[in-house]
Symmetry: C2
């Protein structure tokens, strides 16, 4: 099997899918349970059928294409990603992993390989969470992790509930529990995804073996001082929210650098609400986003920031609040599967590196219950969630080869 042919077919499929967007000419906008998603689903089901797979759509809108294995009773191998996109996104995030999973089935059949267990190409509904504010909808449905009533509670910007959107799409929210697979039925989950970051492209690596998916802590921090006249209040009589906060914010990056490894920490929003050029700031709010593969780092950095805020505000009689708004545990991906992926890269002569995933993926959701492996392909200049998103088709061809080796050796 010529892997360049594989790359060509993947490119052709991705080009076909790029038509299914609500914003032609302005990137891919494929929100869950919309006509664009329906069109993409029909396209994918047709591609799966052409690849000789047995296809179906589950009650959550997930799509599956089955290639039966030698041992039908053995826990199956699921391979795929999501087929929704962010608004104004690119043509690769998610959907490329679905296309690769279908290509993988084609390659297996063409090479006359019958996997030991059932192989299924999977296309998950609504990983991004951009319409209903949640996310991982399809993979949670497969794992039986959707909360009862969730579909009736979540609404989009126009006030349409997820349940109503499903109904218009031809699905019934009441049947969502039927999307859950029996426990133990899925033996492995495999995902190919663009990196969405600059590391592989910057280091000129063809593939990335994902070590784990970082955990996340998010906070809203408010530092409170006292409003005073900027001209008439001596420096030693101030309780300046900007100064107190800046002294701590200036250190956040170094805390992440000291923790090393995969750790990143970001203050993305800083605002002195109602601040004025000639008034000492009464309050400053900032956001904090900390990610790491190591749970202890996710505990330690917020604790250090809290201590520093305490020190700075105590000096001047100020105060602060630090409210946690999101907490996701890190997931370590399967070590034995990572070893096989790495061996395959070496044998095939692909340049590769191990790296963490700083973004969430279906693999994060599936990895909560299922033995999971993930391959990254390079994102040009690290760009993602924008129309400039690009990965060369050869990269996907290589990823499919390496995933095939994993399936054969499992």
């Amino acid at each position: 099997m010529n892997w360049m042919e594989s790359a060509r077919r993947i490119q052709e499929d991705l080009e076909g899918l790029s038509a299914f967007t609500a914003t032609p000419g302005q990137g891919c906008t494929r929100l869950p349970f919309t006509p664009e998603t329906r069109a993409a689903a029909d396209f994918l089901l047709k591609k799966m059928e052409e690849a000789g797979l047995e296809t179906w759509q589950d009650p959550a809108g997930n799509l599956f294409g089955l290639l039966p294995g030698r041992n039908r009773e053995k826990p199956c191998i699921l391979c795929g990603s999501h087929y929704d996109s962010v608004p104004g996104g690119g043509n690769y995030d998610g959907i490329a992993g679905v296309v690769c999973a279908i290509e993988l089935a084609r390659v297996l059949r063409e090479e006359g390989i019958t996997p030991d267990a059932d192989y299924l190409a999977a296309a998950f509904m609504d990983e991004e969470g951009c319409r209903f504010g949640s996310g991982y909808f399809g993979s949670k449905a497969v794992l039986g992790r959707l909360e009862p009533g969730e579909a009736g509670r979540l609404t989009d910007e126009e006030g349409i509930t997820l349940a109503r959107a499903m109904e218009r799409y031809g699905l019934k929210a009441g049947e969502l529990p039927k999307a859950a697979w029996p426990k133990g039925r899925i033996g492995h989950f495999l995902e190919i995804h663009i990196e969405q970051g600059p590391v592989l492209d910057g280091q000129k690596k063809e593939l990335g073996v994902v070590e784990g998916i970082v955990g996340l802590r998010r906070y809203r921090v408010a530092v409170n001082g006292r409003a005073d006249h900027a001209g008439t209040t001596p420096m030693d009589m101030r309780s300046d929210a900007v100064e107190m906060a800046a002294r701590v914010i200036a250190q956040v990056g170094d805390m992440a650098r000291e923790a090393g490894g995969s750790t990143v920490a970001t203050v993305g929003q800083v605002n002195t609400r109602a601040g004025a050029v000639n008034i000492v700031a009464r309050s400053l709010e900032f956001s904090l986003d900390i990610r790491s593969l190591q749970n202890e780092v996710l505990e330690e950095i917020p604790a250090r920031i809290r201590r520093r805020l305490q020190e700075e505000t105590e000096k001047t009689g100020g105060s602060f609040t630090m409210e946690e708004t999101l907490r996701i545990q890190p997931v370590e991906l399967s070590r034995p599967m990572r070893k096989i992926l790495e061996e395959s890269c070496r044998e095939r002569g692909h340049s590769w590196m191990a790296l963490p995933s700083g973004a969430g993926h279906d693999a994060l959701s599936m990895g909560q219950q299922v033995d999971t492996a993930m391959l990254f392909v390079p994102s040009r200049a690290g760009r993602s969630h924008c129309p400039e998103e690009y990965t060369p088709p050869e990269a996907f061809g290589r990823a499919v080869q390496v995933m095939k080796d994993l399936i054969v050796r499992l």
Copy 2:
């Protein structure tokens, strides 16, 4: 003369004047060339007449009350402040200095003192600049420093020009040049004003002898980095506008502390426009307000900040702009007059201290051309430009005594 009687009369006048506000119950709002200002002007002219002064309004809306001196040819002594207010301000800022100047004339007459030169109580129009965005209007008119055409160019929020507002008020912008006094005609300018800061109240001083009025530099700073995914971009591949800016902002206060003396530096507004919790900030804007009596400090601190911004942005390939938006030179007040004021405080047993003024005043404007002295009275808790503004009447009584001593000794 019983100085408690002086305090009582000042309090009575201030209470009378507190009625002339556009926002009853929500502080004093007396913007220039409004019915409130007209009513306050009529009240002040009546008080001046009752004090036996010869009164007039000049073409700028400034009010004067003359007590002739022994030597009518000698350069006169002008004493006063402004009678406009900020929106929702207090009952003391500016107007208390006018009331004190009138009380001073009463005291001189009651005590049978005829000053050597003419004494004039003065009430300046529009020091705050809150309606037409300028300020020091009345004092600039007296000094002949208004720009030609200024009244036709400046507009308020409703688009009404200063010239039109004057016309409705019964004045003619074309006659503004007639408000200018002949050069050398004003020998001294004296001003009593609330401190608008916490120093005298905090140090329990009854009076403050103002050493000078600080100069000012204001800047708008923008720090520019690169927007990146907060999860997938390693710390060493970022150009984070928040981190670069915070490292500099955190040091601004210490630069002022190192300069010492009167120097203050304030970052009152900080904003990541279009920032997001999960995106490395592309840009951050902040305001910078630096004040000092020392011109070299006003040059040095912005230069240091510029160098630090250069260093921080160079590290990551970021950039910055730092635009000067305001520049006012510091004014040193008359040393001989300060010495007389200090002697008077000592002789009368008033506790006092020398201090700079961190806010601008009519004395800043007048001090550009005229030998000027200024006395501060304590502001409770340093509050100003708000309805909570308060200074006990005794403080004004003391200030009038001390100013009287100065006039006698001049």
